[in-house]
């Protein structure tokens, strides 16, 4: 099981690498899918089943689907593909950063590791991930309202940035 979790962790980093070294967003989104599926797996291993399913539904089923719909409307006619030299450059650069970070950070012991599962809450009778979301509606209602306002603001910002079709200079069509 440990090796399986380690494999999921490697897939997470490789997914991030695919996103960062993408030649065009249509191919980079594959890295996002891989990274989020594997991230759900990691959350499940810690016992946070509710949050993992929320991530799956909202991220993959909401954000990525909307991304696919919007790029299908405004698609680049000749996007770059994986067989480009830029991909090798980006991928090599990020792998170098990762290797240097791990080898330098290891002996310096910058990070102290440990894993806490969702059942180690002490006197809680409800699991931590459920009760965390429930707190959004009780003690954390201020943050809830601010987060809702932030999402509404994001909508207005995106609408303002892409209005004007191709005269808006963010869209190509």
């Amino acid at each position: 099981m440990t090796y399986f979790m380690f494999f999921l962790g490697v897939c997470f980093v490789l997914g991030g690498l695919a996103v960062a070294s993408n030649p065009s967003p249509y191919y980079g989104v594959i890295g996002l899918v891989l990274g989020s599926v594997v991230g759900c797996g990691w959350l499940l291993s810690l016992g946070a089943s509710f949050v993992s399913l929320v991530l799956f539904m909202v991220y993959l089923g909401g954000m990525l689907v909307v991304f696919v719909y919007s790029v299908s409307l405004a698609a680049d006619p000749f996007p770059g593909a994986w067989g480009d030299w830029r991909v090798v450059g980006y991928g090599g650069g990020f792998l170098l950063v990762l290797v240097v970070g791990v080898t330098v950070g290891g002996p310096l012991e910058c990070w102290e590791l440990g894993a806490v599962t969702v059942d180690s809450g002490g006197v809680f009778s409800v699991r931590l991930d459920f009760s965390g979301v429930a707190m959004f509606y009780s003690y954390g209602v201020g943050m809830f309202l601010v987060a809702g306002w932030g999402l509404l603001l994001t909508l207005f910002v995106v609408l303002e940035l892409v209005r004007g079709l191709s005269r808006g200079a963010i869209r190509a069509v």
Binding site: W111, V146, L152, E160
Partner: protein
């Protein structure tokens, strides 16, 4: 822009600033910073020409990367120490990451490269917002965590910022880029004193807001985006150009104007802390800034441009008079005699 959208963006700017400066939990501080970043993107890209869009995208990328670093720093600190209090950032790596993040947010050297280009791509009013209000939340975070940050790193960044702000501003002909480098230079002065006396940082910031607002508003009234335009406006608004001269010299830090007060107090405090070398270096580097402030002041009042007659003021002008500019310019030139009272207030 659509008035409803403009209202939402303005309210979100105020909301984000208020949330960050009044927060004691890292997640709320981060939320306020993200609200600010999101809300100002359409304001930068308002004119929808390619330079403005490029400036908006550069701003977004830099600020998003800095917010990510703030999240990493706070979550690492929470992992190690078990608490999310802003004033208790005790883990070394976290405070280093936070210093980097705040330097990126503010535009301190070596993370200053985005600032002149973003200012050049936005209108003068948006550039004023970017130089004053958008600096307030990161400076507040720096103020709250100042006792846990590395003094050597902050001093090096401060001296480098003053150097870069001075030297890079010398070759500029666009007024917004000149004011961007002036902002970087003033941030250097604010950062060098934050370890020893955070209240002087805030005083420098408040007086900088006064002075730079009066300069930006004056430039907005005469619509001077570059030096040639500045040279020909003395016939239209001679009084405004004269007060612009005084406001620019105040920004440069010349006594007996207001801008001398923060530099004077910072030099005094640094000397008391046995930092005479750093004091001398930063004071010398500010002389570079004095040169381009003097050049701006000279062009706004004294030079006769080659393409006009030696006429006096035009008989009919259409520049509106602005009370706010008058108030801010008076404050930014005449506050030095009140310095004992100011010292008791901060």
């Amino acid at each position: 822009m659509n008035p409803h959208a403009k209202l939402i963006f303005s309210v979100s700017l105020l909301l984000g600033t208020t949330i960050t400066i009044s927060s004691n939990h890292w997640v709320m501080a981060w939320t306020g910073l993200e609200l600010n970043t999101l809300a100002i993107i359409p304001l930068i890209a308002k004119s929808h020409h390619p330079r403005a869009i490029e400036a908006a995208i550069k701003y977004f990328l830099v600020q998003a990367a800095a917010s990510t670093l703030i999240l990493f720093s706070s979550t690492t600190n929470a992992w190690v120490t078990g608490q999310w209090d802003i004033t208790q950032l005790t883990h070394q790596t976290s405070s280093l990451l936070l210093t980097t993040a705040i330097a990126m947010k503010l535009g301190l050297t070596p993370f200053h490269f985005w600032f002149p280009e973003v200012l050049q791509g936005s209108s003068l009013m948006t550039a004023l917002l970017l130089s004053t209000m958008m600096k307030f939340p990161p400076l507040t975070i720096l103020f709250m965590t100042s006792h846990t940050l590395n003094p050597t790193l902050l001093t090096i960044m401060a001296i480098a910022s003053t150097a870069v702000g001075g030297w890079m501003g010398l070759n500029q002909t666009q007024t917004r880029k000149i004011l961007a480098f002036s902002s970087i230079s003033h941030l250097g002065w604010m950062t060098i004193i934050i370890i020893y006396s955070p209240k002087l940082t805030l005083l420098t910031f408040y007086l900088y807001i006064l002075m730079t607002s009066s300069v930006f508003l004056a430039l907005n009234t005469i619509k001077a985006l570059n030096l040639p335009t500045l040279m020909t406006t003395w016939t239209k608004t001679p009084m405004l150009n004269t007060t612009l001269l005084l406001a620019l010299l105040s920004l440069a830090g010349l006594p007996p104007l207001t801008g001398f007060l923060p530099k004077w107090l910072i030099i005094q405090e640094l000397t008391k802390q046995e930092m005479a070398t750093a004091t001398t270096i930063i004071a010398m580097l500010s002389l570079l800034g004095l040169f381009f402030y003097l050049r701006l002041a000279y062009y706004s009042t004294i030079t006769l441009p080659p393409n006009s007659t030696n006429h006096m003021k035009q008989w009919h002008v259409n520049s509106p008079t602005n009370t706010l500019t008058a108030i801010l310019t008076s404050l930014s030139t005449l506050l030095l005699p009140l310095s004992p009272m100011i010292l008791t207030i901060i």
